[in-house]
Each structure stands twice: as structure tokens, then as C-alpha cells.
């Protein structure tokens, strides 16, 4: 299994119809950046590097590290093969937001996390800024382990947006209900606002539409939105790692009920993520 997506290039000149990825003409395998996928068999050719989690123990299909999108290729897709991306970055370039992610990690761990500019061949689509994590590196840091796990889970995507207070991101909100047909949703713009003026948030994780309470992201991905103007305790790095802990606990929304504040040890875990980020920020690069 390739430890880093960006180190590999595929010798291919065809695109797979089912996955939209480059197909190696000799082997017939589709290249996803991290792994090759045999669409004829519906199987990856190397195991998923994500660690065994409680959620996976509860869902035996997800323990099969060779399966593609839980064996439902017609309903689920894994568009990039990598799973944490950087979206809008109000503090400047993607590099500056990547630095904020790194600042919440221990000094020794930072060099094992990489910013990748997507070119359509390195596991990320053109124009997408991705985060890859060395999957063969071990760290005691929980913030690192969480990021490593999220970046290695190829069945879902989390996007990190760092916005100024008045910047907008589109989300899905329930606007109606019918007992026969269920909830009705509408796309709506939202801004991080001013939490110190009782109107906004320092960070929020919008899971995809599905289980768990809304509001939801506007697509089939988890949207981590962090307020660049007012990120409260620990600043932007603490907010990013607090929210990534929600993504991890809620398994990209597939177990959203396990990510709620006041449930299990969610409050402890998110505070621990903040504390670690605050401590790590003191170690300047």
C-alpha cells in the first residue's frame, strides 16, 4: 500500500466509466491516488489504512478493508480517494490555513502531514487542496491520530473552510415537514457571525444530509467551518481540531448521534483536542 498519495503516478490513458478515475490499460485497475481499485471485482487491491474503530466493529462490512464504498458503488462514491480537503481560506492562501492545521499538532508530527495541490492525478481533483497524512507513521498525539484516520478513510470527505465573520457558506436547513414524505430542505447561506455578540459560532461541523440533527452541508461531504475572525479559546487551530474531533466521533456523519455535545465523552474529547492544540501552538516551527 502506498504510504502517501502524492508519491505515486499512474501509467494510464483511459478513464473508468464507473469511478471517473484513470484506468491503467495493462492491469485494468482504476487509480485513486492511494490505492488501485479493481472495478471488475468491486474491490481495492490493497487494504484501507484506517484503523479499526468502534463504529466499524458494529458494521462488519466496514471491517473489510478491501471493499469499496461499503459494496454500494451505485449509490456511494469516493471521488478523490483522499478525504480531508481545504476549502475557503479567509486568512490567505491554502498554505496559511494548512499552517493553522499544523499548528495544532505536535512539532515532531507536523512533517508527516502534507498539503497537496490537486492536479487530477495525485488523488485530488484539479483546484482542490488536499491534506495527506503519512499512514505508516505512529504518534501518541490524539490530534494527529484523528487527522491520520480521517485522511485515510476513503469512503467520505471532510472539507475545512476558514471564513471571516461575514463570509458565507451554503448549508441545507429543514424548512418544512410532511408526515407522509418527511422533512423538506432548502439551501441557505450562513455566516460564522459574531459569537461574542451572541450571534454566531467559533466553529461548526455540518454533516451531510442524513442521520443526526441539522443543519447539514450542501453536498455529500462534511463541512468543517471555522470562524477566522472570532475563534475564541485557542484560536483557529483549536477550533479546527475541536471540529475534526466531531468529524471523527461522528464518522463523517454516519454516526452523527455519537458526535453530539453532552453525549458520551464528546465534551471531554473536544476540549482535549483544544487543549492539545493550545499546548502545541507554543512550539513554533
Amino acid at each position: 500500500m502506498p504510504p502517501r498519495a502524492c508519491l505515486f503516478s499512474a501509467a494510464s490513458d483511459h478513464q473508468s466509466v464507473s469511478t471517473g478515475k484513470e484506468r491503467d490499460t495493462e492491469s485494468g485497475l482504476d487509480y485513486f491516488g492511494d490505492r488501485y481499485y479493481a472495478s471488475s471485482m468491486g474491490r481495492w487491491m490493497s487494504p484501507d489504512p484506517i484503523w479499526v474503530t468502534d463504529d466499524r466493529l458494529a458494521d462488519p462490512q466496514r471491517l473489510n478493508l478491501y471493499s469499496y464504498v461499503e459494496n454500494k458503488p451505485l449509490t456511494l462514491t469516493d471521488p478523490h480517494g483522499d478525504d480531508v480537503t481545504l476549502g475557503t481560506c479567509a486568512s490567505g492562501s491554502a498554505q496559511s490555513c494548512f499552517n493553522q492545521v499544523q499548528a495544532g499538532l505536535a512539532k515532531d508530527d507536523r512533517s508527516h502531514v502534507h498539503l497537496v495541490a490537486g492536479d487530477g492525478k495525485n488523488g485530488f481533483a484539479k483546484g482542490v487542496n488536499g491534506i495527506t497524512v503519512d499512514q505508516d507513521y505512529k504518534s501518541d498525539s490524539k490530534n494527529f491520530q484523528v487527522l491520520q484516520s480521517l485522511a485515510g478513510d476513503h469512503s467520505a470527505t471532510a472539507r475545512v473552510d476558514v471564513l471571516n465573520s461575514n463570509d458565507q457558506v451554503t448549508i441545507k436547513v429543514a424548512v418544512g415537514y410532511n408526515a407522509k414524505t418527511g422533512n423538506q430542505y432548502q439551501e441557505s447561506p450562513i455566516s460564522p457571525g459574531n459569537p461574542s455578540k451572541n450571534d454566531g459560532f467559533e466553529g461548526y461541523t455540518f454533516f451531510p444530509l442524513g442521520e443526526g440533527p441539522g443543519p447539514y452541508s450542501d453536498g455529500n461531504y462534511t463541512d468543517v467551518v471555522v470562524n477566522n475572525s472570532d475563534s475564541g479559546r485557542g484560536g483557529v487551530p483549536a477550533s479546527i481540531h475541536h471540529e475534526l474531533r466531531h468529524v471523527f466521533l461522528g464518522d463523517f456523519g454516519r454516526s452523527a448521534s455519537k458526535a453530539l455535545h453532552g453525549t458520551g465523552n464528546v465534551d471531554q474529547q473536544t476540549k482535549a483536542a483544544e487543549d492539545e492544540a493550545i499546548k502545541n501552538q507554543k512550539d513554533k516551527p
Binding site: G176, Y177, S188, G200, P215, S239, H261, G262
Partner: protein, 152 residues
């Protein structure tokens, strides 16, 4: 000729009486407009009547995954209630995303007393306003006695 005029007059008075008997539908076009596909089967009532029939308020839940989340405001919902007192439809007429999300999760679990007309339970519909204040892990709500006018 005179008989025909009398008949028309009686019909007019009858229609007017029926109109006046209906619960304030003229004052609340929004409620029926929101459910216009079967509005003729629904009795539109004002907030006071909705509240008079309200039996159970399900407590709202905080949104999922915030850090430093703080929002307050008012959510106005047009609710349609079945003859048995269950919420069968609602539309959010006014509200910010987090407040709307928290409250819309639990509105289907609210319960009402049946609305009787000519001793028969009817489907009814009307607006309800809920003031809320939410944080990362809690949301406090209060049903308002009337719909606030103008911006929150």
C-alpha cells in the same frame, strides 16, 4: 322574479355567515397559502386558538457540533394538525438556520387537542412563534403568545 332575488339574498347571507364562522382565515392567509394544495379541507386558526389546543411541547435539542455557538431569535412555523391532534405538516415561515434546525426536529412530536366544529374533529392550521436561545450543548425555548411583527 322576487323569489329569485330572495333566493340569491339568502345564499349571500348564508355564505357570509359561513365565512364569519371560519376561524379568522382572512387574517392569516400565510398559514393556508403555505398548505394551499388542500387548503379547502383545513380550518385556519389564529395563534391564540393554536395555543389553546396545545397539549405537549417536545423539548428542542441543541444542534450537533458547535464550538462557541451562540444564537438567539424567534422561529415562526405554520403548523397543520390532524383531527387526532398530531402534527402532519409544518412550514418554517421565519427563523435563522440553527434555531430552525433545532426546533424543526421536534415539532412533529408536539401534540394538540382536537379542534371540534359541529361536534366533529377537523384538521386545522395556524402559526406559532417560538423564542429560543442556544449554545453548544443546550437550547432554551418559550412559546410566544402572539406572532412578533417586524424583524426579530
Amino acid at each position: 322574479m322576487i323569489g329569485r332575488k330572495l333566493l340569491l339574498g339568502a345564499c349571500f347571507l348564508g355564505c357570509l355567515a359561513l365565512h364569519l364562522m371560519s376561524y379568522g382565515s382572512a387574517q392569516l392567509p400565510t398559514c393556508c397559502t403555505a398548505n394551499s394544495d388542500h387548503a379547502k379541507d383545513v380550518i385556519c386558526v389564529p395563534t391564540t386558538v393554536m395555543l389553546a389546543h396545545l397539549l405537549h411541547i417536545e423539548k428542542a435539542k441543541a444542534p450537533c457540533c458547535g464550538k462557541g455557538l451562540s444564537e438567539h431569535g424567534v422561529v415562526v412555523a405554520s403548523m397543520e394538525v390532524s383531527p387526532r391532534g398530531d402534527v402532519v405538516r409544518f412550514h418554517i415561515l421565519q427563523g435563522k438556520p440553527f434555531g430552525s434546525a433545532s426546533i424543526s426536529q421536534v415539532l412533529p412530536l408536539w401534540k394538540f387537542k382536537p379542534l371540534l366544529k359541529h361536534e366533529r374533529a377537523k384538521t386545522f392550521c395556524g402559526p406559532i412563534a417560538i423564542r429560543y436561545e442556544l449554545s453548544d450543548s443546550s437550547v432554551e425555548t418559550a412559546v410566544l403568545p402572539e406572532i412578533p411583527h417586524g424583524p426579530e
